[in-house]
Structure formats: C-alpha cells, structure tokens
C-alpha cells in the first residue's frame, strides 16, 4: 500500500471517528427541544455531553488538519469550494460550544431559553450541513481545471445533497438518543429509548434510499464492482444497524450505541472507499478531480505525519477512553447540584 493510500484511509477513519463521537452530542442537541420536558431534563442533556463534547470536537480539527497536511490541494479546493456551507457550519458549532459554557451562568429563564435555541441550532445545522457536504463530496462538485468550484451554496442543496443531510440528522439523532438513554434514568431514559426505537425504521428507510440514490447519482459503486470484497464495509454498516434494533429491544444500551457507532462509521467509510482515489471528484470532468495522486503532500511530509499519527492517535484514544470510563455514570440529581455542572 502506498503512503498516499494509507493516508487516504486514515483520512476516512478520522472523519468516521469524528462523526461517531460528535454525532451523539449533535444528536442530543437536536433532540433537546423535543425530548426535555423540564429544566432538570434539559440540564441532564447538557451534562450528558459535559465532559466529552470538547474532546470530541477536536476530531473535527484533526480531520480538517489532516486534510490540510496530507492533501493540501484537496483541502484548498474542498474548503474554498464549500465556502458558505463551511462558514455556516462554523458559526453553528461556535454557538453550540458557548451554549454549554454560558447557559447556567445567569439565573434567568429568558437567558437559558436563548442558549437552548442556540444549542439546538448549533447541533441540528452541523448535522445537516455535514451530511449535505459529504453527499456532495460523494457526488462531486463543479471543480474546474484549476480546482475552483464553479457553483455556490444553492447547488449544494440538490436532492441528493439534501438526502445526505437528512440521513446524517437521522443517524445522529438515533445515536444521540441512545447516548442519552445510557446517561439518564427515569422518564427521560424511557423517552430517549423510545425515540431511538422510533428513529430506527426511519434510519433504515433513509439508508436504503440513500444507497439506491447513490447508485444512480454517484460513481461510488464502481470500486465495489471491481472488488466485491469491499462490500464487507457495507455489510458491517448493515449489521451495526440491525444490532441497534435488537439491542434496543433487549435494553442493552451500550451494545445499541456500539451498533449505532458501527453504522455511522460504516456509512462514512462506504462513501470514502467508493471515492478512492478521489478525495473530491469534479462533476465537470473526471480529470479535474482532486485525487491522492494530484493533491498529496510530499513523501517526507506523509512519512513524518504517519509517524506522529501512529504514536499519538493510540495515546489520544487511550486517554479519551479513560475519560469515557471515568464519566460513564448516569446523570443524577447530585451531578446537577455539582457546582461546576453545566
């Protein structure tokens, strides 16, 4: 396997980890106005993401940073090509981030309500926009010979792009409701589990539609036709999704979460593997696509970065797993009375 190919796979894996980890925060934030019936339940939702969201969001920075470092030309084309969508994503994530920190700092209903709205928008919009962006990456954008996107935000909101956005929102809502069920008890727990169970068929229908539409709209299946073994990734995603339903039925919430995580990672990797060797196809001319061949960094940079990644990523995973274990308990009244809680 060449260095470029390894980095391409790592690029996909980093995005997958980001979607799996921030996916549940964003899903819970999207659910906030619909599932929480009182102040205690709202705060339970904020604190269920409390010690984790910041560390989760760094995976986005790392995925972005790795795109920059390993495939600078693709990073340049992708980030300038998706300009307005990316700024909307950034503004939304900024609002979400500060809503955690600021919401409980002033004792006023209007203040809390304002930050709840920010939190919802700052969770729902990123879920939607990330889906729209990745569906458009799978489909290709109108890159010209210089790697400049000839279209704007409105063209990204094509039916396939929007379906991608909806699928991401549904995946994240299911993922978030499972996490909330893990972290809460009583009526909120029951409601969260019900939401997960009810979201499941929507996720199935969404995934089937997306898969069929992907076959019609993109070239992703070409790699799979050439090498049918790759379908294992898709089978993994399907098994994950099935496991979500069976685990929810038997109230094994951690297993359901693992299934949902597998599903999200499987969907992401399905798309990424289908793209290979492109990171960003051009819908105008296949020769103008950003691929690992025309956008990768020098072998020296890729080697050094690989060394850093092989040492650091396992360390990061190790301490983040420790953090998840340390704070895996259900949120209780004592946690909400804790002075530093959100």
């Amino acid at each position: 396997m060449t260095l470029e190919t390894i980095w391409f796979l790592l690029w996909g894996i980093l995005w997958s980890v980001y979607f799996v980890l921030d996916g549940f925060d964003l899903g819970m934030g999207t659910l906030l106005p619909f599932i929480a019936r009182n102040e205690t339940e709202k705060r339970t939702i904020y604190n269920a993401a409390g010690p984790f969201w910041d560390g989760n969001e760094v995976w986005l920075l790392t995925a972005g940073g790795v795109t920059f470092a390993a495939f600078p030309a693709a990073y340049a084309a992708m980030f300038s090509g998706l300009y307005t969508a990316l700024y909307l994503l950034l503004f939304a994530l900024i609002l979400r981030g500060v809503s955690f920190e600021f919401r409980s700092k002033v004792d006023s209903d209007a203040w809390r309500k304002a930050w709840d709205t920010c939190h919802f928008l700052g969770s729902f919009l990123p879920a939607l926009l990330l889906g729209v962006a990745f569906a458009n990456i799978f489909r290709g954008i109108a890159l010209d010979a210089n790697g400049v996107n000839q279209e704007g935000l409105l063209e990204l909101l094509n039916p396939y792009g929007l379906l991608g956005g909806v699928v991401f929102v549904v995946m994240f809502v299911m993922h978030g409701s499972i996490w909330l069920a893990i972290k809460s008890s009583g009526p909120l727990h029951d409601r969260a589990r019900t939401v997960a169970i009810k979201t499941w068929p929507i996720a199935v229908v969404g995934a089937v539609f997306f898969l069929v539409y992907t076959g019609l709209e993109t070239m992703l299946f070409n790699n799979y036709m050439q090498n049918p073994l790759l379908f294992l990734v898709l089978i993994g995603a399907v098994l994950g999704l099935i496991s979500v339903r069976s685990s929810l039925g038997s109230a094994k919430m951690w297993r359901a979460w693992a299934g949902s995580a597998t599903f999200i990672a499987g969907v992401t990797m399905f798309g990424v593997i289908g793209l290979f060797p492109a990171l960003l196809p051009s819908s105008l001319n296949a020769g103008w696509s950003m691929t690992i061949h025309n956008s990768a960094s020098s072998p020296l940079t890729l080697k050094i970065m690989l060394g850093v990644a092989l040492v650091m990523v396992p360390i990061v995973l190790a301490y983040q797993i420790w953090v998840y274990r340390t704070f895996s308990h259900k949120i209780t009244q004592a946690d909400l009375d804790y002075k530093e809680a959100y």
């Binding site: 790392t62 940073g65 600078p72 300009y83 953090v323 704070f327």
Partner: protein, 431 residues
C-alpha cells in the same frame, strides 16, 4: 472592496478575536495549576478556593477561545486556498501535529478538570489542570513554529510548483518560531499576572475576602514581575533576529529610511502619512538603533529606501504599533516593581485603584505586537516566497461579504456576553 481586502480583514478579525482569549488561557492555566498544586501539597483550603475562583474565570475565557479556534484552522482553506496548496506540505503538517499532540490533550482534560472535582483524587485532578496548561503552551509552540515559517521560511525546497518539506528539523528548530514563543509565553504570563492583580485590587479596595485576594494578588504580582522583565529580554532578542531575517520589517518598525552604519534612533519621530519618509525626525541618539538591532553601535541598518517599494510593509501602522507595544512593555515592569515595594501593605499602595483599569493594557500590547509581526511581514504572506495578493482564494465577493459580516456580528455579540460574564463572576468573588 475586493475579495483580497475582505479576506484580509476577516482574517484579522477572526485571529485577533481568537487572540483575546489565548494569552489568558496560556498564562492563567499555569497559575491555576500552581494554585491547585499548593492546595494538594499543603491541604490549605484557600488555595482550593483560589483554583476554583480563578478557574471559573479561566473557563469563561477558555470556552470562546476553543470555539473561535476552529475558524482559524478552516480559514486557511476557505479564504487562502492558494496559500494552502502552495505551502500546505509544511504549514498544514504543523497544524495537524498541533491538533494531535496538544489540542486533544487540552480539550479532553479541561472536561476532566471541570467535572472531576468530586470524582477524582486531588492529585489526579491537579494533574488534569497541569495537562491543560502544558498542552495549551505546547500548542502555542506548534502554532508559532507554523507562523515562524511564514516569517522565515526554512527547511523547504521548491518542487512541483510548491514549497515541499526537505528538512523537518530545520522547520521545528526555526529560530523565528522559537523566539516568538519565548516572547509570547512571558507576555501571556504578564497578562495573566495583571489580570489577577487587577481583579484582586478591585476586591481589596472593597475589603472583600482580604486574605484570599492578598494571596491571589501576590501570585499575580510574582508572575507579572518576573515575566514582564523576561518579555522585554525576549523581545530584544526577537528584535535582533528580525533585524537579520526581516530587514524590511525592522526598517518599518523604526521608520528608518537611509541605510547607514551607526544608525541613530530619534527620540521624536513620526512617519509621513504618504509612506515616503518621516515628517518629524528630531533629537537623534547616535548609534542607538544599530545597537538595539545588532547589539553593536557601528552596525549597518538597512533603510526602507533600499527596499523596492513593492516589497515594503505599511510603515505607519507598523511603526505606531511597535511604539505602542514598547511603551506598554516598559510600563509593566515599572508598575509591577512599584507594587512589589508595597507587597506587604497592599492597601497602602497608592496605585492600587488603577490596577483594575490596567487589565486591558497587556491585551493591547499583545495586539500591537502581533500587528508588528503580521503587518510588518506584508506584502508577503510567506516572507520572500509568496505575496499575500497571490494567496487568496478565488471566491465571489458576495461570499466573503456574507462570512465577514456574519462573523463580525456573531463575534461582537459573543464578545459582549463574555465580558458581561467575566465582570459578573469577577465581582462576585469566591464562593
């Protein structure tokens, strides 16, 4: 306004707004870590209350620093795509390393610190804030190495129409980045010191929690006193380095026009508004500029007249920012020195009531310093290698107008909320 100007303004707005929060994060994280360490080693509850009180202000500040940091990484791709493609091989890898080595650690353990007071042993909890503090500062080092490459590109070779890495060690031992780090970290600790002194003074004047705020004040004072001196030393060495590596920037900092040996410094000086000379230039001190730049009164200092006009930075802004930074940088050790004389009878310190009003000054000094660094590098985005005008993304003006206006509105709103919360919690005092 064109895409280039809008993108530059947006970069300046996004970066400067982010940098309101960075220096306090760098400095205060270390001081809070020391407070908590004292609590753990002595068992003295006051230190725990100190870590919690200053930690709360730290967190309000930290939140905005984190969320506005994402913009910084993304805007290279969104607005400076040609720059990103041109130097991403080096610059991008430094940012990616920063994220994996430092930013993960900082962002993960801040959550541990906030939520872990009752769930972790005091030692492990204290370790969490040390990891945050160390990671923040290590993060700063990588970012400054990336910026150092823009000031003084090293370790690269031109190949395939772009700058490619050929000597990683040269990139990570770039004197510019390291000297910027050695100037920036003491600046951050000076800022944090005056921040603590200012808020403590406000409470001491009102006789609130005298013991708590006296101890806090002394910690802030220690930091301000030591590091305001080190920041001057670091700045001087950094200036010597600039004289060697970026003569155009040095000439603009001093509005120095004629190349000459034994270059004087004028006690009264003002560049012309047209950028072609000085309108006021009086009271020369012979050889002082040569001495400050090269530690040698007879050294030759290149003047702006010997730099082609299209390669000159904007003189007036660079010159004034430098004066402002140096002026404030001189004030800090003097103020800290005076406060030190009254350290055991703070209430009698006649300047105590000015200290709360001094809190903004180190911020202004740091902004002025970064203006010198970044404006003084113009018209280059990477000194001598790529011009800023060649680096901007091919975007539609409407796109950048939208992002710039929205960003300014959002940041203004968040900035106001942050200041409101800071004042509220600073005035409230410890629990």
């Amino acid at each position: 306004m064109d895409v280039l100007m809008l993108s530059r303004l947006q970069f300046a707005a996004a970066t400067m707004f982010h940098f309101i929060f960075v220096p306090l994060t760098l400095g205060l994280s270390l001081l809070v870590a020391i407070m908590e360490t004292r609590y753990v080693s002595t068992g003295d509850k006051t230190y725990k209350r100190m870590a919690k009180f200053w930690g709360k202000l730290f967190l309000i500040n930290f939140a905005l620093g984190v969320v506005t940091g994402i913009t910084l990484e993304f805007q290279f791709g969104t607005n400076w795509s040609r720059y990103s493609a041109y130097v991403g091989d080096i610059f991008g890898s430094l940012l990616a390393i920063e994220a994996t080595v430092a930013f993960f650690l900082e962002s993960t353990f801040i959550g541990v610190w906030v939520f872990g007071w009752d769930r972790l042993s005091p030692k492990v909890h204290c370790l969490a804030i040390w990891l945050v503090a160390i990671a923040s500062n290590v993060s700063g080092l990588w970012i400054l190495l990336a910026n150092g490459f823009m000031q003084n590109p090293v370790g690269y070779v031109m190949r395939n129409g772009r700058a490619e890495l050929n000597d990683f060690i040269a990139v990570i031992t770039n004197t510019t980045g390291i000297l910027q780090f050695l100037h920036m970290i003491p600046a951050a600790l000076t800022l944090a010191g005056f921040f603590i002194m200012g808020i403590s003074a406000w409470h001491l004047l009102r006789d609130n929690e005298t013991d708590f705020f006296t101890r806090s004040f002394k910690m802030g004072l220690g930091s301000a006193l030591i590091f305001s001196v080190l920041v001057v030393l670091g700045g001087h060495i950094h200036g010597n380095n600039t004289a060697l590596q970026q003569p155009a920037k040095l000439a603009a900092m001093e509005s120095h026009w004629e190349t000459q040996t034994r270059a004087p410094m004028y006690l009264l000086q003002m560049p012309s508004l047209t950028g072609d000379g000085n309108m006021i230039q009086a009271l020369p001190v012979p050889g002082l500029l040569s001495f400050l730049a090269f530690n040698d009164v007879n050294a030759e200092v290149t003047g702006l007249n010997d730099i082609p006009e299209q390669d000159r930075p904007p003189v007036l802004l660079t010159f004034l920012s430098f004066r402002l930074m140096v002026g404030l940088g001189t004030l800090f050790p003097l103020m800290a020195g005076l406060a030190f004389l009254y350290r055991n009878r703070l209430k009698q310190f006649p300047l105590l009531k000015f200290l709360p009003w001094m809190i903004p000054l180190p911020y202004i000094a740091i902004f002025a310093g970064w203006t010198v660094t970044e404006v003084g590098r113009q018209p280059w985005i990477v000194q001598g290698l790529m011009r800023t005008a060649d680096a901007v993304s091919p975007l539609a003006t409407s796109q950048v107008v939208f992002s710039f206006v929205t960003l300014c509105l959002l940041y203004a709103l968040l900035g106001a909320v942050d200041i409101f919360l800071m004042l509220k919690y600073a005035r409230m005092g410890p629990e």
